[in-house]
Subunit: 254 residues, 2 copies
DNA sequence: CGCCGACTTGACATTAATCAAATGTAGTGG
DNA sequence: CCACTACATTTGATTAATGTCAAGTCGGCG
């Protein structure tokens, strides 16, 4: 249930994901991440500016709201949530991030982070100094183009979240969340219909603009109807067709 | 109540905003728009790639969801809304745009527009061919940097909308909307406390995840409490302090 | 074994939606 | 200028969806 990485032995790392001197070229995520579309030479130039791989323990902040912005972060291992804090001190989660995704793009505008980012499990990120990245943009047009693509995707992702929060009922929101989460795992080579949630029910609810009780009830209802198998944070989608229809708003209960 | 531009005489234009051959340098919005921070020379190079000024009549689409993306649009005159259409054919408005703002950045990722954009009044935009802009990026680092700032701001704007939709009650949402709208007019040299709404109540409600009836009731309530003067679409904020406190969630009714 | 935090479930309350008029406003044509 | 029409908006009554509060239950860990 917990992340596999707990206490890191000083001994030589075992898996490729844990080696200290990994490079984009050997990273299984380079099809999703910043170096997408680069040739070998360009990729190694990008590699050369990436400072270090940094471990982030479960529950610790990669950065906090208002921290000065100097780096983007590419998730190599693990999951994160990003969130804002309102005047009352409560958090609103604005997204969950997976390996291969970029964190920190919202900070470019003001030079300060606009939201906080916390690891949902023991994680590892590549630090990308933004000033150095800007130098590379001038030299590698492909890189710049893909960076624009990523920022734009971030915008559409958030517009989709607005659609969800602004116009969907609770049931539909959760269906969308489950279908999307599965699709994102599928893009990473995992099963779309069988995955482990990395966040608490409360965090799902927070993200979807619902309470923990609503999430719990909805999961139970989905289970009762045979759409899902749920065991703790383990999700199996038994009827993807109907779940997708619910997410699209085509098929809502009663 | 309507836009001042109705039928365009073929005679020489009267105001600077209506001249055919305007340039960024003479545009009152260049402090907000894409050329921000450029020198005279660079600005005229940007100018040279801007195809033409295009009029967009009230109620017509600048682009629609799924249209191929070739240009960004800078609003010169008028107001727009951007929106998505869900499976049921209803729209969800994702933003209202003002002069000086850039439209179309969400389309860079896929090469197709992800939402539609419709003029709320007779409007005018500068067309910016994106392929040509990319060439300029390589030559004018200042321009690239500011473009990144604008995209990033778009991300934070949408994150703020998520905060609003995900965690605020109806009253707070409308207070935030009014305060933000005023602030945006203030950034353009107009009054923050005295402005005209360019959209229908229904569109405000749609954007805020509420119904038209809720908006109407809330406006009446604000009026009754002496926070606002409302006459059709004309808004005067009589008590900005309290309205801001409501927007921050500090001061909610009873 | 027992504690603690996460989750589930039930009863009830509340917010905002829905439904239904009534009223106001802008534009049109006589 | 006025009557007429088509919308847009306001207001009231009622309902439905989701939140809140309050027990419980489950599962992992010391």
């Amino acid at each position: 249930m917990m992340s596999s990485i707990q206490i890191q032995p000083v001994a030589p790392a075992q898996t490729s994901a844990m080696q200290e001197h990994n490079h984009c070229a050997t990273c299984s995520l380079h099809k999703l991440c910043l170096p997408t579309g680069l040739g070998d030479d360009e990729m190694s130039r990008l590699d050369s500016i990436i400072g270090r791989r940094r471990r982030v323990q479960r529950g610790t902040n990669l950065y906090r709201t208002n921290d000065p912005f100097t780096k983007l972060y590419a998730i190599r291992v693990g999951h994160f949530k990003t969130f804002q804090i309102n005047a009352g001190g409560e958090q609103q989660i604005t997204g969950f991030q997976m390996p291969g995704e970029l964190l920190g793009m919202d900070a470019i505008g003001t030079g300060r982070h606009h939201c906080g980012a916390m690891a949902l499990e023991d994680s590892e990120v590549c630090e990308i100094p933004f000033a150095k990245l800007e130098v590379l943009f001038a030299e590698i047009p492909q890189l710049l183009r893909h960076f624009h693509r990523l920022m734009s995707q971030e915008i559409t992702r958030e517009q989709n979240a607005m659609l969800l929060l602004g116009s969907m009922c609770a049931e539909q929101r959760l269906a969308v969340f489950l279908v999307n989460t599965g699709a994102r795992y599928a893009a990473r080579g995992y099963s779309a219909n069988n995955f482990q949630l990395r966040m608490m029910r409360e965090e799902i609810g927070n993200y979807l603009g619902l309470t923990i009780e609503s999430i719990s009830r909805l999961l139970s209802r989905f289970k009762k109807r045979g759409l899902l198998k749920v065991s703790n944070r383990e999700i199996e989608i038994l009827n993807p067709m109907i779940l997708r229809a619910m997410a699209a708003g085509t098929e809502l209960s009663r």
